[in-house]
Amino acid sequence: MAQVLRAMWTWTHDVFVNFHAKSFAADASEKKTIMAEPTTIGTGTFVRGHIRGEGDLEVEGRVEGDVQVTGTVTIQSGALLKANIRGSHVVVRGAVAGDLFAEHVVSLEEGARVLGSIFAPRIGIAEGALLRGRVETGPASEHPVRVVAAKATVSRPTAVASSPARAASNFMSPPAKTAAMREPLPAAPPPARTTKPLVSREESAALTATSQPVRSPSVDRSAPARPTPPARPAPPARPAAVSEAPKTKKPPPPPVVPALKKGARASWKKKAAS
C-alpha cells in the first residue's frame, strides 16, 4: 500500500514538476537545474541592498550593500562593489571597497583592487593585485562585519567596528573584540577545518553569541573543550567540528618573534589541510 502511494505521489510530483518546467521553459530560455547554477549579477546590473543565501555568486556588475553566501563569491574583472563580502571562498579580480571574509580562502588575482580588510585562514594576493587594508589569517569569524554604508534598503544596524587590539605578546591572537557578529550568517562562520586555531574561533563565536565582554586573548588556546555556541542564532553547528585540540604539529614556520607563544604558532600555522 505504501509503495502504491509512494508511486502515485512520485508520479504526480513528476507530472507537476514537468508541467511547470515545460511551461516555464517554453517562454524562458533553457531549463535550469535548481540550486546548481550560480547566481550572476551581470555587467549591466546594479544591486543596492543585501545578497544572501546558499550557493555560489558571481558578480560582474555593481553591488552596493552587503554580500553573504555559503558558496564561492567571484568578483570578476570590471565588477565594482561597495560592500562587505563573505563566502566560503572569495576570489577577486575586480574592485572592492569593503572587507572580505572567507571560511577558507580569499584570493586576490591580477587586476584586483581592494580597499578594505581581509580575514580568512588562507589569503593569496597575486602579482598585479593591489590591496590596502588589514590582512589577517587568524580566525575569520572574530571580525565584525562592518556595514558599508549603502544608501538604500540596508536594514541592519551598523556593527560595532572594534579595532583589533592585539595582545602585544600574542602574534595572531584574536583581536580584542566587543562587537557581536552582525547577524546570523548562513554558514559563514568558523570553518569546519581541522587545522585552524579553532579554539579561538569558538571563543569568539561564543563571544558573539552571548555578547559577553571580551575575554583576554591570552586565554589558553589549547583548551579544546569549547562550548559550541548554542546561543548563536543561525550558524550551522560548524563550531562543533572546531572543538578539537589545536594542531600541535610543529610547522616549519619561522622561529619568529620570540613573543610568539608556542601554542599560538602551532595553532594557526596550519599546514595544507584546509
Binding site: R113, I123, I125, A126, L130, E136, P252, P254, V256
Partner: protein
C-alpha cells in the same frame, strides 16, 4: 630574488641584537632583534626571524618571521611559510597562500571613481 649573490649573510645560527644597515643584498638566515635598513635586496629566509621596529629595503622576500613595520621601495613578496606582523608598505605586496599574516598592507593605488566613498 636578488640578481646576484648576497653581499652579506647572517648565518643560520647567528643572532644580531641591534641595527643592521648599509647597502647591498642581505640574506638573513638567523635572528635579528633590532632594525634593519638596507639599500638592497633583503631576504628573510625560512626559519629566520626579524623582530624590531622597522625593516627597510629596496626589495624584500620574506619566508621566515617578521615582526616589524616593513617598508620597501619596490616589491615585497611573502612566501607561504612566512609569518608576518606589522605594517607593510611597498610598491606592491605579493602574498602566497599559506602564510600567516596579521598586518596592515599599505600600497598606493586608486579605486575606480565609482567606488570612492
Amino acid at each position: 630574488m636578488a640578481t646576484r649573490g648576497p653581499d652579506a649573510v647572517l648565518g643560520v645560527g647567528s643572532k644580531v641584537r641591534g641595527r643592521v644597515s648599509g647597502s647591498g643584498n642581505l640574506q638573513i638566515l638567523g635572528t635579528v632583534e633590532g632594525d634593519v635598513s638596507v639599500r638592497g635586496h633583503v631576504t628573510v629566509a625560512e626559519g629566520a626571524s626579524v623582530q624590531g621596529t622597522s625593516l627597510e629595503a629596496d626589495q624584500l622576500v620574506i619566508e621566515g618571521g617578521v615582526d616589524a613595520d616593513v617598508q620597501a621601495e619596490g616589491d615585497i613578496h611573502i612566501l607561504a611559510n612566512a609569518a608576518v606582523r606589522g605594517r607593510l608598505r611597498g610598491a606592491s605586496i605579493r602574498l602566497d597562500e599559506g602564510a600567516s599574516i596579521s598586518a596592515e598592507f599599505d600600497v598606493a593605488f586608486d579605486l575606480p571613481a565609482e567606488l570612492l566613498a
